[in-house]
Amino acid sequence: MTFLDVLERTPVRELAAFAMRATDLDVSRALAKGSRDLEDFAALIGPVAGDRLEELARASHALTLQRFGRTVHMYAPMYLSNECLTTCTYCGFAKDLPIARKTLSTEQSLCEGEFLRGHGYRHVLLLTGEHQKLTGIDFLCDHVRALRALFPQISLEVQVWGTDEYRQLAAAGCDGVVIYQETYNRDAYARFHVAGRKRDYDFRLGGPERAATAGIRRLGIGALLGLHEPWREDAVALAAHALHLLKAAWRQELSVSVPRIRPSASGYSPEQPVTDRELAQLICALRLVLPDAGIVMSSREAPGFRDRLVPLGVTHTSAGSHTDPGGYTEPGEAEGQFEVNDTRAPEEVAAALRALGYEPVWKDWDSAMRPKEAEETASA
């Protein structure tokens, strides 16, 4: 069964409503359990659980410590292009926005790569807008092949592909695929994605499963908080997605992310932004229902806040990020996707993590674990 089938049978709206009326007893029951389900998750994201945030945080901290220890995985985003044929009304890359556009050549992405490597990074996340011609599968494979000599770990956050394309990417040396559904609510999805291939909700939803079938090792999923309201519905659907992937893609390492929408050239801002406290609670609840999943937090959140979320459950973080293509070595030439909130250099973030008692881990993978084809082509 695919997640599409599962989601259709999951009472997302009812569970989000249950979250709002979950009682103290419901929360206690969910907290006391050893392994938790979607209903427990709903109880843990409600207002009553919010009043017991410190208790949630303690449980979440203990689980995170047991599974991940006192370490945080460091990665760097690298935008390869801001060209886009899709219109997502909240995004700074949207097709019709009059912004400065740029697409990197492999030489340029190698420059960016050298820069990031110089700052310690060994895991790079490559991002593009959605342009079938300018940033198609050959483009992506070329950049992955070029960069794999620099990075033992390469992930992609780009348009969604079919299984065959994911196979090509895996063979080129791509280890991870990140696909945020943005919102799991069909109506909201249609409202925010008004033009372009990304309009196909079902195709996007099935992306992580196709990537897994193709042998991609790491999957990242997420919901962009601030699109669909109430946000708890998207939180429930995201947790359901993760729980499904744990079974359907049991060989894959899974991470989840709950980015809050940031100001961008699109001018979009949510009516009821998710508060810091709600986000912290959501991180705890995700950890409590998904003890083994990575939780990713990018530099879109503010410095002090971001650091303090690490003990609560965050395991993967970026620093010194630029969201414009070429932004590390040729800044100012193209528009970024959104405004970064935490502008500290990687070294500063690493120092802040150490001060909190956490070891930043830069290298946590080795190219020896890439598929044979990738290594053969590399040495050819």
Partner: protein, 261 residues
Amino acid sequence: MDDKLTIAGRVFGSRLIVGTGKFSSGEAMRDALAASGTEIVTVALRRVDLDATGGPDILEFVDRDRYLLLPNTSGAIDAAEAVRLARLARAMGLPDWVKLEVTPDPRYLLPDPIETLKAAEILVADGFTVLPYCSADPILCKRLEEAGCATVMPLGSWIGSNQGLRTRDAIKIIVEQAAIPVVVDAGLGAPSHAAAALEMGVDAVLVNTAIAVARDPAEMARAFRDAIEAGRRALSAGLAAVRTDAEASSPLTGFLDQIEP
């Protein structure tokens, strides 16, 4: 009696192997290693700067004159990957001892018995000293022994779970049958678990999470060291048999002594 641990002809004074994951800093790890008295330290190759780029490297904090470095293949999902990693490490000048880990499931990190055996056969033929992490399955352990492994390393419980010796009954059989050292590899959460393993006749234990995430890792490392020594000493001293009830006298035959001759 010479009570030293011998693996592949090499003698070790400590029966504790320590893992290097999950520590809050390289310094905290280094202090814990020193306090543990260990002589074998295992390091995930995925975290080692194998390309020698001068990048951040966990090995900076492991004194290789003091410890035998035991590279492990953590992250490998099949035999081919594990073999590739081990060969790469050897080519980089790391020891040709390898802690073989083949774990296709990233959640419970359970070892794949089929791929582990396959990789062990290849690596042994390749001249490696192979210490395989494996399920607590007595037959699998015999097969790994026949394949030429230097030890077997059955799990006590799920890795990182701190649940202790949940596989006790199987470990008992493995110890009974093994002609090579048995090292309990995963799940030991407290010094008492380690002591119990040594009391059972397990030759050594590997501990990581319980030390790394303790409030004071160095102090916890010392506690494990002491517990392991105590467990081993108890084994040599000969443990008294366990009984389920107290035995005061001989209720059924005591009368025989009462009868006048």
